[in-house]
């Protein structure tokens, strides 16, 4: 074979034959590619389109703006809770390129520690580290302009509180998951939260929606409704101040006070101590402080209950306002004695006014006996139970717009041991529990002429479109007592206030009535503490008829004497002065 002539032989094809063979292979591959492309792009198009959308089409929930919470200050509506858009700064340690420089520039903007950032950037186990929270729009823009690799910001709505800690337990807060916790925020979470919107959009791999794609669907969020509270802002401020000062004087760590309008059930002010700053709820260590004790912490209310026992007896007609009776100073029931405090002064003839004024336990027990025709029997218990539960609303939450409202406890009239003793105890506010709000609402139903209004905090709700829904006062039960009984109780309680010393004294022609309570504190291990009491006060102030019903509660004061008269009564006095001086309580017209 001559290698120099490139002649094709069977075993050794010519150069061009080889080229053509190779060319044929390449053309075959090209046809193969076109066939494959036809298969992928036309036959399997729908399959891959679906796969593409699975990855690219992302659905986002657009957070609606949460409704503001407002209340009146005089005739002006002032905000208690508003929203503010702030920004969270985060980093992806995996994507950060120049750690040193990034940390330095960011620290300068957020005014934080550069070395702290460097430490966070070195975290290998996470792709999301939070570098700063609550950055302003301005800070956010500065950071965005830097276009730092692996650094991003995201907007977060925060609740802000123009009035600081005012009414914090009543308002509640919005937790880190965006859900209302405690107070109005929890009770009205649905209304306040609004309806999230939805964005279905083709996005880039990082989830940023790409500009106007035909596949994008956007449903706008519906902002939450605005809530206007019945709270009177200046009154709330003063109540909180008065409560705190009163507790300090009584050497008490905690307490509550509330003012309610007896003719509507609207809560005008509701204060608790200790309190917290809802803007910094996350700094609170003891979660108890979140509770609005006026509605969520029932207690054995003590002698303030006697006003309601008397109302029940009067309304049943088993006693009259001027009825006198002989009090033995001691009843023995179910093997236990019901006795009085020393000041009552042993056996003697008393009337209803004395029972309230001197706070005679045996007198309250006597009133209960009259309901049973002279003894604490089934009838007495059933009747009194009916009053407590069905008329005064004890044992069940009132339904006020608050998270974690408690219902309190009323013993069954027919089941259990020592029922007579237990029921005698309930007649002066022991062996049962109620919240300060329940007490205020019950007394309101008595002194307003017999209508039990559902206690409420919401005056009206303003929807996103501006439409207003007034929260009309709701009568839960009519004829709790007769209007006459209401007037009688008003007089009897006025008598109690007259017979007690207030500093400063009340002057002017006002109807001011009240009743102290000193309740033993139950020992969780059984029985009662021998030397620890809660002081309570239940009263009202008004002209011809009560304008405001007030409950004061002072937990475990350390000043000696009776907690009711020593600790709670002065606070009631100051509140009453405050209401007369600043909130236009009308005077009586019939004198």
């Amino acid at each position: 074979m001559n290698p120099f002539t490139a002649r094709a032989t069977k075993s050794n094809p010519s150069a061009n034959q080889r080229v053509r063979f190779w060319y044929g292979v390449l053309m075959f591959i090209i046809i193969l590619f076109i066939t494959r492309l036809f298969y992928l792009q036309i036959i399997r198009h729908d399959h891959y389109r679906q796969l593409a959308l699975q990855g690219q089409l992302k659905q986002y929930s657009i957070e609606p703006e949460r409704g503001a919470i407002k209340a009146y200050s005089g005739s002006q509506l002032v905000p208690l809770v508003l929203n503010q858009k702030l920004h969270t700064l985060y980093g992806d340690p995996k994507l950060i390129i120049n750690s040193q420089k990034t940390a330095k520039t960011l620290a300068a903007i957020t005014k934080s520690d550069e070395s702290e950032y460097l430490k966070l950037f070195k975290k290998a186990d996470t792709r999301y580290v939070i570098l700063a929270k609550r950055l302003s729009e301005e800070q956010k823009n500065k950071i965005d302009d830097l276009k730092l690799a692996g650094i991003g910001t995201q907007p977060v709505n925060y609740r802000i509180y123009p009035q600081g800690t005012l009414a914090s337990q009543l308002l509640g807060f919005v937790n880190n998951q965006g859900k209302g916790s405690y107070g109005v925020e929890e009770a009205l979470n649905k209304k306040l939260a609004g309806t999230p919107g939805m964005l279905k959009a083709i996005t880039d791999a990082n989830g940023v929606p790409l500009a106007a794609s035909e596949d994008n669907i956007q449903v706008d969020p519906k902002a939450g409704e605005q809530v206007v509270l019945t709270i009177d802002v200046p009154m709330q401020k003063q109540l909180e101040r008065i409560l705190k000062e009163g507790l300090d004087k009584a050497k008490s760590q905690s307490g509550s006070a509330l003012i309610i309008d007896p003719d509507t059930g609207a809560v005008k002010a509701m204060a608790n101590w200790p309190t917290y700053d809802p803007a910094e709820f996350f700094k609170v260590e003891d979660g108890d402080v979140f509770n609005n004790a006026s509605v969520s912490s029932p207690l054995e209310v003590g002698s303030i209950m006697k006003t309601l026992t008397a109302s029940a007896a009067l309304n049943q007609g088993v006693v009259q306002p001027d009825t006198t009776y002989y009090d033995p100073g001691k009843w023995t029931l179910d093997g236990h004695n019901v006795t009085n405090i020393e000041e009552v002064g042993g056996p003697g003839t008393h009337n209803i006014a004395d029972i309230l004024n001197k706070s005679i336990n045996t007198g309250a027990t006597w009133l209960l006996m009259q309901m049973g025709g002279g003894e604490i029997n089934q009838q007495a218990r059933d009747r009194w139970h009916d009053y407590m539960v069905n008329r005064y609303g004890f044992g069940n939450p009132t339904g006020i717009e608050q998270g974690y409202e408690a219902g309190g406890y009323v013993p069954s009239p027919r089941k259990g041991f020592g029922l007579s003793l237990a029921y005698a105890n309930t007649s002066f506010g022991q062996a049962m529990t109620a919240t300060p709000l329940q007490m205020a609402a019950a007394l309101s139903s008595v002194v307003n002429g017999g209508d039990y209004y559902k206690p409420h905090l919401v005056d009206r709700i303003v929807a996103e479109d501006g439409s207003i829904k007034i929260n009309k006062p709701e009568i839960v039960r009519k004829n709790v007592v007769s209007p006459k009984v209401g007037r009688d109780i008003q007089k009897l309680m006025e008598y109690v206030v007259e017979k007690h010393t207030f500093n400063p004294k009340f002057s002017g022609n006002y109807s001011i009535g009240g009743k102290t309570g000193t309740a033993q504190i139950a020992d969780p291990s059984g029985g009662y503490y021998p030397d620890r009491y809660n002081g309570t006060y239940l009263g009202f102030v008004g002209g011809d008829k009560p304008e405001y019903v007030i409950t004061v509660r002072v937990n475990d004061p350390k000043i000696g004497g009776y907690a009711g008269s020593g600790a709670a009564q002065p606070i009631f006095g100051t509140i009453t002065h405050m209401l007369i001086d600043n909130f236009g309580v009308p005077t009586k017209t019939n004198q």
């Binding site: 290698p3 120099f4 002539t5 490139a6 002649r7 075993s11 050794n12 094809p13 010519s14 150069a15 061009n16 080889r18 080229v19 053509r20 190779w22 060319y23 390449l26 053309m27 591959i29 090209i30 193969l32 590619f33 076109i34 494959r36 492309l37 036809f38 992928l40 792009q41 036309i42 399997r44 198009h45 399959h47 891959y48 389109r49 796969l51 593409a52 990855g55 690219q56 276009k147 730092l148 690799a149 083709i202 996005t203 880039d204 791999a205 990082n206 940023v208 790409l210 794609s213």
Partner: protein
């Protein structure tokens, strides 16, 4: 036969000295070049520019660089590529023939230098020399050196009639191939470029006329080495496993293959439109370079991809036409090498994007972003463009420029052979 090894080594040592080989073509009549080569190159470069321009914002956003970063870079690269094409188009091929040694030395030096640069973060290999903001992919220089060097070596061996000589031709070729392949595949971890180099060398040797049996053995050896290379690297094993079933590994190793298929498939008949690629926004890795075909498939649909593939087909046909009409063996082998370069790279790239081949980090010729690969390929095409000026009118077999060619020089088309050739070379090369 027994004295051949010594001689062949002598020949190898003298490789690159043009004294014993005279290029035929340039003594022939010069005519108009094949403008199709220029037109097709410009068409593909333009397609690349348009596609890179359209996905530039998305790429810029995902990498935190300025909006115009990618398109500016591509415009510069295309400009450099066209300049390289122009320069190569006007350089006589004998200059390339003589430049073999400097080119080989440069490739060796670059391969050494690259070992001292930091390991590339993406590929965990030494692929690029980065200097003053310019990155230079060493494998591309090696391709050019292989193209020129092998064409010269094979043409010389062929002209001496030693093309069928195992020890003189195939053995040194295999040794060279193993050295280069191990450098590119192992140290630079670039199996795609290795495949291109293997194909270039293989096809040049094949077209130069190595015996068919040996060609088959050669192919088998290359295949065996290839499989060995895949099985010894875990990262390649993974890629190969992924290749066999991409959709089961969508979240990890098969991510790019999956996203490529999704991009291609979601294009449909007409595509989503130029500005409507979504996959370029961070889903498909290497959207502007290795994966650009899939992005085009998404944008332009089957109509677009079929057109692109057909354009490559036309390009291949033009190059084949030049080969068939080139008389000089060196020039002819250059075009063979360039055809192998272009077609292999296209086949590997498109094959991977349509899920027929495993994913390799390799660019789509002339379209992908990637400065070095673009400039070297356009330079090579410039050489072909120049060679196309000396083609004969009819299909022709290569003609030997040495003595025995004298007897045929008067026949054929009468062009090309005007001078007598080095007779001593003839005598030495006679077996």
């Amino acid at each position: 036969m027994n004295d051949k090894p010594r001689r062949s080594s002598n020949n190898l040592n003298r490789r690159g000295t043009s004294g014993d080989y005279k290029i035929l073509g340039e003594s022939g009549r010069k005519h108009k070049p094949d403008y199709w080569i220029l037109i097709l190159s410009v068409v593909l470069l333009s397609v690349g520019l348009v596609v890179v321009y359209s996905i530039s914002p998305g790429l810029a956003a995902s990498q935190n660089v300025s909006q115009n970063y990618f398109i500016t870079k591509q415009i510069i690269d295309v400009g450099l590529g066209l300049m390289a094409f122009a320069v190569a188009a006007f350089l006589p091929t004998k200059i390339w023939f003589r430049a073999t040694i400097p080119l080989v030395v440069a490739a060796i030096l670059a391969s050494i230098i690259v070992m001292f640069t930091p390991v590339d973060a993406v590929y965990q290999a030494h692929r690029w020399i980065r200097f003053a903001g310019i990155s230079f992919q060493v494998a591309e220089l090696i391709k050019l050196a292989v193209l020129i060097g092998s064409a010269g070596f094979l043409a010389r061996q062929w002209s001496r009639g030693r093309i069928e000589d195992f020890n003189g031709t195939l053995k040194p070729l295999l040794v060279m191939l193993i050295i280069i392949a191990s450098i590119v595949a192992k140290l630079q971890s670039d199996l795609g470029s290795t495949a291109v180099i293997v194909m270039m060398l293989g096809m040049m040797a094949f077209v130069a006329g190595i015996p068919l049996k040996r060609a088959l053995v050669f192919g088998a050896v290359v295949l065996a080495i290839g499989l060995l290379a895949i099985s010894t690297s875990s990262y390649r094993r993974e890629r190969f496993a992924t290749y066999l079933s991409p959709e089961t590994n969508c979240q990890d190793s098969g991510y790019q293959a999956c996203q490529a298929l999704i991009s291609v498939g979601s294009g449909g008949v007409f595509g989503l439109g130029l500005g409507h690629s979504v996959q370029a926004y961070g889903y498909l890795p290497e959207a502007s370079d290795d994966s650009i075909f899939a992005i085009m498939a998404e944008k332009f649909g089957f109509i677009g991809t079929a057109s692109i593939v057909i354009i490559y087909g036309v390009f291949i046909s033009r190059l084949k036409k030049v080969i068939e009409r080139t008389v000089d063996q060196f020039n002819r082998l250059i075009v063979v090498g360039v055809l192998a370069w272009l077609s292999t790279q296209m086949v590997i790239n498109v094959g991977a994007m349509v899920g027929l081949l495993p994913i390799k980090g390799i660019t789509l010729p002339l379209i992908s972003q990637g400065g070095t690969s673009l400039v070297f390929l356009t330079a090579a095409l410039g050489i072909v463009f120049n060679i196309s000026r000396y083609t004969s009118y009819n299909v022709t077999e290569p003609r030997n420029n040495s003595a025995q060619n004298l007897k045929t020089s008067h026949s054929l088309d009468g062009r090309g052979v005007r001078r007598a050739y080095n007779a001593s070379a003839v005598s030495r090369s006679r077996p």
